[in-house]
Structure formats: structure tokens, C-alpha cells
């Protein structure tokens, strides 16, 4: 397979009927106690869709709300406002355990921090086996073990039989991360929310996992929300790229389009910062300290305006909304130019 045709296939599918759609998704956190209560706007009025068999990469600054989005989708957090539609139905309408279980079976999550996402009291196979038990009740005990072994092998951990029986503290960060990934794979999901699933892996193993993602999408039609700091890997697997900044999605579009033709100044900055051994060092961002903003009780206006080299007056008073600036390519910037072609 080549990644190019994968991209096209995914793009057409997603246009037809989105698997999951987030509308005006918002999540605020209360910070401080008692009187001096303040609101941290982790995610603010975010809209996006994830199509069937689509890999959507979500990148952005640390603290910009990527994990929060994943957690909102996984139902770990309840949205402050906004709605998530899964296969056309709002998840807030799930009442029965059956509905919820079905959703959870379809949309598993790989947690960002592999050190805290495995229960230290159980062998690492615990999570995989439990997932199988909950979501594929038809399997017998022995089958579950077989299946677990298979997925653990699939994420590149071998010998699986040995690894399964270890306790989390006996695994390295990278190994744990892969166990987390295996948990999400175990029960034929439809959409995997993968929060930096490869951040702790060595380049060599990382690529194996990325290949696995692509293969799963191909063979089993699984979609991914792939959260990462590693733009290069996003380019490698993702059909679409979303860039977040301070709780807002500031740019979204087909991966290549965004990379080749970034519309939002932040995207520009971000791409400029990504080192590439195969390309010469680009300059021009030296003045930027790269301090991520905390979005506490924000006032209207573009959140990037303080760091933006292009900021105009309007940016200080009006929050930019996503605008279509190219084919499937949107950015939230007052000054960005649309594609000319």
C-alpha cells in the first residue's frame, strides 16, 4: 500500500457520513477553590468530524486541549457544553448500560501516560482480558487468552506469553504504551482515540506502530484520532491534520495540504520548529519563547495574538472562527489568505 491512496480513500469515506462528530464541544475546568474561582477553558467550542476509516491527527502545543478532547470523546469528562454525535446519535442520550457499553466497545482510548494507565496491582494482560470479556462476551476463557496474546504480539511485544504475565513495573515506558494500545485493539473497535500512543517509543518501534495503525485502518476499517506532537509521524499516517492552539482548533485540512500550505501563523510556527535531519535547518523563529498560554477566563480575541507576527487590531477584539480557505482546508485566522487556485 502507499499512503497516498490511503489518504484519498479515507477522505471520500469521511465526506459521505462521519463516524463521529463534535459540535461546539466545550470543556472548562474550575481552578482555585472557594471565592477566587476561575475557569480554565481547556477546550472551547470545537467542531470537527471523524469519518469512517479515517485517521485524523491532532497536533498542537502542550496544554492546548488535545487530551481533553480525547477524554471528552471517550466519556471520561462530561462536556461543559456542546454535543458529540456518534453514528448520528448524540452520546448524551445514551441511558442504558447496553448503549453505553456498546459505545465504549466501539470507541476505546489509549491514554497518554503509560505509567498511570496500567493498574500496578494486576498483570498487564488484565486490561486486555477485561476488554475482551466485556465487549466480546462470546469468547471462551481460552479464546480470550489467545486473542490477548495475538494483539500483544501485534503491537510488537514478543514473546507475548511472557510479556502478558508481567506486572506493569516490569515494563519500560514504551512497552507499557504498547500494552495500552493493545487494550484498545482487543475488541474490534471502530474508532480508537490514541493520545500520544507512541511518544515514549524509540523511532524504530514507533514506526512499527504507525504502520500497524495504517494496516488496521486498511483491513478492519478502524478510524483513529491520533494525537501527537510528532508532525512527521502525523504526516506519515494521517489523512487529515487538526492543529489546536489554546483550546481552539486553529487549522484543519488534509495533511499534505496543511503541511505544504499552512494557513494559520501558529501552524507556520509549529512546522518551522520541527527539525528534520533530511532538510536544512530553517530559521526565523528564534525570537519566540514558546511559552504555552493558560486559558483562564479568556477575553474575546484570537488566542495566538500575543505571539503572532501578523496580528492586527481585529485579532484583539474578535475571536476568529474556522473559515474555509482551501479544499477541505479551514483555518481560524482573520488575516490568512485563502488558496488562490
Amino acid at each position: 500500500m502507499t499512503s497516498t491512496d490511503v489518504t484519498e480513500a479515507g477522505a471520500t469515506e469521511s465526506a459521505a457520513a462521519p463516524l463521529l462528530e463534535a459540535r461546539e464541544l466545550t470543556r472548562h475546568f474550575r481552578v482555585g477553590r472557594g471565592f477566587g474561582r476561575q475557569m480554565l477553558h481547556a477546550v472551547d467550542e470545537v467542531n470537527f468530524t471523524i469519518g469512517k476509516q479515517e485517521i485524523v491527527a491532532l497536533a498542537g502545543e502542550s496544554g492546548s486541549g488535545k487530551s481533553t478532547i480525547a477524554r471528552l470523546l471517550a466519556g471520561v469528562y462530561k462536556p461543559t457544553s456542546g454535543e458529540i454525535f456518534y453514528q448520528g446519535r448524540a452520546t448524551s442520550t445514551y441511558r442504558s448500560r447496553k448503549d453505553q457499553l456498546a459505545y465504549r466497545g466501539d470507541v476505546p482510548m489509549v491514554f497518554q501516560d503509560p505509567f498511570s494507565s496500567l493498574n500496578p496491582a494486576f498483570r498487564v494482560s488484565h486490561g486486555v482480558l477485561r476488554s475482551l470479556k466485556l465487549h466480546r462476551p462470546e469468547l471462551s476463557r481460552a479464546e480470550r487468552f489467545e486473542e490477548a496474546e495475538r494483539v500483544i504480539e501485534a503491537v510488537g511485544l514478543s514473546p507475548a506469553g511472557d510479556i502478558m504475565n508481567r506486572y506493569p513495573y516490569e515494563l519500560s515506558g514504551g512497552q507499557r504504551q504498547r500494552i495500552g494500545f493493545a487494550q484498545a485493539l482487543a475488541h474490534k473497535p471502530k474508532l480508537i482515540l490514541a493520545d500520544e500512543p507512541v511518544s515514549m517509543l524509540d523511532v524504530s518501534i514507533r514506526i512499527g506502530l504507525l504502520n500497524l495503525m495504517a494496516e488496521l485502518r486498511e483491513t478492519q476499517g478502524v478510524s483513529f484520532l491520533y494525537i501527537t506532537h510528532d508532525i512527521a509521524s502525523a504526516r506519515y499516517v494521517a489523512d487529515r491534520l487538526m492543529i489546536m492552539y489554546a483550546g481552539h482548533v486553529v487549522e484543519t485540512g488534509p495533511t499534505e495540504s496543511v503541511l505544504q500550505n499552512p494557513k494559520h501563523p501558529y501552524t507556520d510556527l509549529l512546522l518551522g520548529a520541527v527539525p528534520d535531519p533530511r532538510a536544512p535547518l530553517s530559521t526565523g523563529i528564534e525570537g519566540d519563547t514558546g511559552e504555552p498560554p493558560k486559558v483562564i477566563d479568556p477575553t474575546p480575541g484570537c488566542r495566538f495574538r500575543w505571539r503572532c507576527p501578523l496580528a492586527v487590531d481585529r485579532c484583539h477584539s474578535e475571536t476568529p472562527l474556522l473559515r474555509v480557505l482551501g479544499q477541505n482546508h479551514q483555518a481560524a485566522c482573520h488575516v490568512a489568505d485563502p488558496d488562490t487556485n
Binding site: N211, A273, P275, P277, E291, P292
Partner: protein
């Protein structure tokens, strides 16, 4: 070379685990010249941090240096008394630790930590020096009165680097100083470090597992695998033509955001257990080019053109004997 700053020979470090010792650094040789930027890369757990600590004599039990020497400006640090070491430390070489989050004392203000450092040495230091170095790394000196928890992760890492510059040492050892930062911040910090290095002329040993970072910033590259140096040479040379299959694997394994999009493969298998490494070449069980000698003969570092590589493929050109 005349301006040889650091000369590490046969350095071996073991962790006493109760059963078999973990040999985390295994007969490592390393040379750093004044003003040089040496990058160290390698898989997680291959002994990079341990090597740095061993160089700085900062190992604490259960780790111990069990062999080799570390000559810094001509003096052997391994046999040096703690007292003499204290005098040398920070003034002549300083260390920026892997996690700046925890490397600052949480109960002392940044300024107090500067003061402590100054008081520990009888090096004359101007009163404005702390403020000056903070400004150098882009932190407002107002933060001298701040406590570590009041700074963001990036600021803490900068503060650490500022502190390392306090006495303008000859060598700064940095262990993944940018790991806590996101790409933009990491990038700007690296640029600053490089800039400072150009200005002040100190040498840097820089550990990371981000290949792309070293590719842009370091002069020399050390590739470690399972406690050993497997390849050593000019960065560009290694990147252009990696001589060790492991280095080659590393370089093959990461995608680019520019160039053409090609399917990549990783290195299969897992790194060896350092308490019982595989026989012969340590990379041999994972090596795509392994042949029958590999599990039998332990390779040495062989000179291959401009670089040295620990691979039996290059056995015809044995590395020349060193005079140490």
C-alpha cells in the same frame, strides 16, 4: 589533538541489583574537545544518563564505576577526592539533568539556589551574574525570587541551563534538557544553546533520543546501544552514511515532514537485558545484516572512514591502538 577537554577510557558502570549486576555502561571511550558539541543518541535505557553521571561522578548506589577513567583537563575524575571534585564541579563542568522538573530544589527560590552555588565555590562572581545568565536564556531576572513550582516546565529547564552557565564552564553536560518542552519551545531553546555555545565557547555533551535534534545541532555524534558506543563520528558523516546497522536502523525509522513520503520500517525486536546481554555483538539478535560470526565474536570499535563503528562488517580495518 591539543585542545582535548575530556577523555573517557574504558568506562564501565554497574548497577548492583542483588543478583547479576546490570552493566549499564560497558567499556565506553569518548573524547570531547573544547568548544565541541557532542550528541549522544540511543534507545531508551541504553545507558546514556548513566554515562553522563559517571563522567560527572554523580553516581549513587547501587551504581558504581567498576573500571576505566575519566580524564578532564588532564586530571582523572574517578580517583579524585570528593573535595577536589567539588571545587571542579560547576566551575569547570556543569550538568543539566534529564528532568528539570525535579532538579531544582522545590523549597528554595531560584535566587537562593544561585547563591548556594556561588557560596560553594570561591570563584569571584559579580552580583549581577545570576540575573545576567537568566537573561541569556530568556528568563526575566524577576524570577530570581520565584520558587520552582511557580515556573513552567520550560522556564525551569531554561533556569537550569542558566545555572549551568553561571561560572562559564568549559563543559556542559546536558541530559535531554528539552524533553519536557513542546516542539516550538524545544526548538527555540536549542537555538539559544547553540548561540550561547558559539559566544562562550564551551563544549557540550548532549543526550537526546531525538535524532532530528542532533542532526541540526551537534558536531559529533555518539550512538549507543546496550551500554556500548556502537558508532562515533562527525554528525554529518554518520547521518550521510551510517556504518552500524543500528544507526542505519535509527535513521531509517523516522518519517520526514518534507521530502517524499515513503513507507518506513523499524528495527524489529527489543533491546537486550543489560544484566545478561546476548553473546557476541549485542545488536546481533535484531540485526538485519547479522552473519554467523556475530553471536561469536564481540566486535570492537573499528575505524570506518571518518567514523568508528562497532560492527563486524568492518572487521578488516581494526581501530588503531590508542595511547592513553
Amino acid at each position: 589533538m591539543p585542545d582535548q577537554l575530556l577523555e573517557v577510557r574504558d568506562l564501565t558502570v554497574e548497577y548492583d541489583t542483588g543478583d547479576r549486576p546490570v552493566v549499564a555502561v560497558d567499556h565506553v571511550d569518548l573524547d570531547v574537545h573544547a568548544g565541541e558539541f557532542v550528541g549522544v543518541v540511543g534507545e531508551s535505557g541504553c545507558g546514556k544518563s548513566t554515562l553522563l553521571f559517571a563522567i560527572a561522578q554523580l553516581l549513587s548506589s547501587p551504581a558504581a564505576i567498576t573500571g576505566g577513567s575519566v580524564r578532564f583537563q588532564g586530571q582523572d575524575l574517578v580517583t579524585m577526592s570528593e573535595k577536589k571534585l567539588s571545587a571542579l564541579r560547576w566551575r569547570d563542568f556543569s550538568v543539566v539533568m534529564q528532568s528539570a522538573m525535579n532538579a531544582l530544589n522545590p523549597v528554595k527560590s531560584i535566587g537562593a539556589q544561585f547563591r548556594d552555588t556561588i557560596m560553594a565555590h570561591d570563584e569571584p562572581v559579580a552580583d549581577e551574574r545570576p540575573a545576567e545568565v537568566l537573561r541569556l536564556v530568556g528568563i526575566d531576572p524577576i524570577h530570581l525570587n520565584s520558587y520552582p513550582h511557580q515556573l513552567s516546565g520550560g522556564m525551569r529547564q531554561r533556569a537550569m541551563i542558566a545555572m549551568a552557565l553561571l561560572f562559564t564552564p568549559d563543559l556542559i553536560i546536558m541530559d535531554e534538557p528539552t524533553s519536557a518542552l513542546d516542539v516550538v519551545a524545544q526548538r527555540s531553546l536549542m537555538v539559544q544553546i547553540k548561540e550561547l555555545q558559539k559566544q562562550l565557547g564551551f563544549a557540550v555533551i548532549f543526550v537526546t533520543h531525538d535524532m532530528s535534534l542532533v542532526s541540526h545541532f551537534s558536531d559529533k555524534l555518539v550512538v549507543m546501544y546496550a551500554g556500548q558506543v556502537v558508532e562515533f563520528g562527525d554528525t554529518r558523516a554518520v547521518f550521510d552514511a551510517p556504518q552500524h546497522p543500528y544507526s542505519a536502523g535509527l535513521l531509517d525509522a523516522f518519517p520526514s515532514i518534507r521530502g517524499p513520503k515513503v513507507p518506513l520500517t523499524g528495527i524489529p525486536g527489543t533491546p537486550p537485558n543489560l544484566a545478561s546481554p546476548p553473546p557476541g555483538c549485542r545488536f546481533q539478535p535484531r540485526c538485519p545484516k547479522a552473519f554467523e560470526d556475530c553471536p561469536k565474536i564481540e566486535p570492537e570499535l573499528y575505524q570506518v572512514g571518518a567514523v568508528q563503528a562497532r560492527c563486524l562488517l568492518h572487521v578488516k580495518e581494526p581501530v588503531q591502538e590508542r595511547t592513553s
